[in-house]
């Protein structure tokens, strides 16, 4: 073989793939600019919710549970969206509701992912009886409808914010476990995991350094969707009276408290419901876009 050709082959092998752009900030900005309109809308919605939740005390004209006017006051200059059944300002409650409901839903989802994710990874790596035991427990939990199970548990342990978070997180972690175990297993059989095992690495390294980064995209997507479900569940529980307790402002209970107004053709009680719906739609748009981007689900033509 002539040297020239050999050199040629080598260099061709070397330059085959161009160096990727390493500036992740610029990459993200570029991705963001290329995102479809729906995703941009979703991001805008989520950002404004977060903003409102963070700066609730600054943005609101009155205190969270302060009675400032007569009951069921109409929309007007003093109370932009009127007042509720006890005479509290609707707009103020709506804004504080974002803070309470969002915060609790976020913490709950985070906890659900921490528990479900760790156990799922563990099951996918260890397999055998660990997997069997965990999976069967999860099956039992999943056999009972979530809302009814949550109602029962909240009645037993009492409904305060802390119990609410723990109970819903545990119930929701079952679904995270299932997903995490399934996608984790696909990665756990790869050669690089075997390499880590052969090197003598411990479980934490294999779980969090070898496998977790490779299953992150589906988990992030699931996080978005789970967040929506948790959010809806909390709202539903609050509507039923066992969720976030008064006088804390919360969208679910706000719908319930003011429901009578609907009979008079007033749409005020639907506003908290609309707020929930809008956020759910926003999160779904973003999640769809992310899924599309990371999973290679691209249009082929």
């Amino acid at each position: 073989m002539s040297d020239e050709v050999e050199e040629d082959a080598r260099s061709a092998d070397a330059i085959a793939i161009p160096l990727a752009d390493r500036d992740w900030k610029r990459d993200m900005w570029r991705d963001l600019k290329k995102a479809p309109l729906t995703a941009k809308f979703g991001i805008l919605v989520i950002a404004s919710y977060v903003f409102v939740a963070l700066f609730a005390p600054v943005l609101t004209p009155y205190g969270e549970s302060e009675i400032v006017g007569s009951e069921f006051d109409v929309w007007g200059d003093k109370f932009i969206l009127g007042t509720d059944n006890l005479g509290r300002d609707m707009l103020t409650r709506l804004i504080y509701g974002a803070r309470n409901t969002l915060g609790i839903a976020f913490l709950t989802t985070l906890l659900a992912f921490a528990v479900g994710g760790c156990l799922g990874l563990l099951a996918s790596i260890l397999r055998g009886w660990v997997d069997q035991v965990l999976s069967r427990i999860v099956d039992i939990f999943m056999a009972i409808p979530v809302l009814i199970f949550a109602l029962v548990l909240l009645t037993i342990f009492g409904s305060n914010a802390q119990n609410l978070i723990i109970i819903i997180a545990l119930l929701d972690s079952t679904r995270v476990f299932r997903l995490c175990r399934a996608v984790g297993m696909n990665v756990a059989v790869m050669d690089f995991v075997e390499v880590a095992k052969l090197r003598g690495e411990g479980l934490p390294w294999i779980m969090f350094r070898e496998i977790l980064p490779n299953i992150l995209p589906p988990l992030v997507v699931e996080f978005g969707l789970r967040f929506c479900f948790v959010f809806l569940l909390i709202a539903a529980l609050s509507f039923l009276g066992v969720g976030i307790q008064p006088p804390t402002a919360d969208w679910g209970s706000m719908v319930r408290d003011n429901a009578t107004l609907i009979t008079y053709g007033d749409i005020t009680p639907l506003l908290p419901a609309a707020a929930i719906a809008l956020l759910t739609v926003g999160v779904n748009f973003v999640v769809d876009w992310f899924l599309h981007k990371t999973s290679g689900l691209r249009d082929d033509h």
Partner: protein, 554 residues
Amino acid sequence: MTTKPKKQAKDSEVLLSIRNLHIEGQSDEEWHPIVKGVDFDLHRGEVLGLIGESGAGKSTIGLAAMGFARPGCKITQGDIMFDGVNLFNATENDKRSLRGVRISYVAQSAAASFNPAHRLIEQYSEAPVQHGVMDEKEAHAEAITLFEKLQLPDPHTIGFRYPHQVSGGQLQRAMTAMAMACKPDLIIFDEPTTALDVTTQIEVLAAIKDIVHEFNTAAIYITHDLAVVAQMADKIIVLRYGEVVEEADTRKMLSKPEKAYTKSLWAVRSLQKKEQPSDDILLEMRNIDASYGGGVKVLKNVSIKVPKQRTVAVVGESGSGKSTAARAITGLLPPMKGEVIFKGETLSAALKDRKADDLRKLQMIYQMPDTALNPRMRIRDIIGRPVQFYMGLSGKKRDERVSELLNMIEMEPNQYVDRFPGELSGGQKQRVCIARALAAEPELIICDEVTSALDQLVAEEILKLLQHLQDELELSYMFITHDLATVRAIADEIVVMLQGEVVEQGLKTEILTPPHHEYTDLLLSSVPEMDPDWLEGLLKERAKKKPSIQLAGN
């Protein structure tokens, strides 16, 4: 191989004529040229061999001959004249009426191309019945004749099996039968034997060659294996980067290649190493029995010795237990019986009982560098982790060692440390795998088919690197492979395995020179040679003496 009755007619009529073909592919939302202006003619009954490395555009051209572009690719210009029809601008309906009837396609992996939920014969009949060439009954009868011609066992009943019930070689032949169903004018074979063992490959090659001659079918035979194309093709086109490097008749191409690139491809198989005997045993497998989940024994009383600073090649077909032997040594699959002795000390059977230092001395390199490197880790961390884990180096010292290792595998550290595996070529990934193994400063490296996923030129570079490292670092290799060219290139000793047993073990020249063990002989003689008459000669010879060894492939 009798005379070819219609062969005279072949030169006169051009069946397929491709002119100035350009194809582009999409990556990162941009279009890049894959095929850049390829021309060729294919006459009736002629077999054209397309060869080149991966990424040369072989398969893309093969599919374009059917007027088809893969998702993410598009044919941007050129003429594809098939018997008077220009497939470049033909309507989808026109193309569909040709495909399966007059042009058909045999894919690389028959196992992945058959629908597992339907019987073979149903899938066979689909195209002819769909196109109205014959009804189902005729199709079934025809299928049986073809199965017979392709020498499938039990031709009358095999069609009623499901794809998973027949072996890989049989499936590939069934797929050839399927492509033949409508007696097409042109068949495109896309690496039909690449996934098969050498002994099975022969049967498929012989079957394809026979049937193509019998029906005077033109064929495009795509492969990266020169010796295979030498058996099959009348004419060869060498491709590189989507362009034709050289085109000539097979015999001329083999004997007098003109371009430097072609010559380099031809020269690859010439790498050889002189064996050196040694009695200084580093690792010994002693009477090992192993099985998965306590079922059938995959290893039966296997004993293998690996001398210090030598290379032992373990050869055998898929399913012969080569990789299982490696798993038994590393402790991933604790053997049921027997022991692994490393430097005079017995290693614990199970991985979790072994000392970190024992793990360090025994490293592995895998067949598929794509799955052996964590795609979400940078090269710095992939190589740095074992340095940190075993040597306790961190921070700057660790980075220095990583640079040193990258230099050792002939990759520029500054350019590569921050990359992800996805940003490297196949050969570079395999180099990184080698560096990762070296990072542990091992004494024995088990190489499991390390070159079989690579192109020939790249594979040779890797082999040279491994040999160089062996001399420099006094490494021992256990080299698992099914490729005998690789064995010739690097081995000192050879172990031949068959169905979980060691058939023969000894120095390279001892094993490679006759008299052989019967199976070794079969294995050795099945490796295609660059001589276009090799296949016919071999088949004649085999017909004379009936082989007494029944292979898994049949």
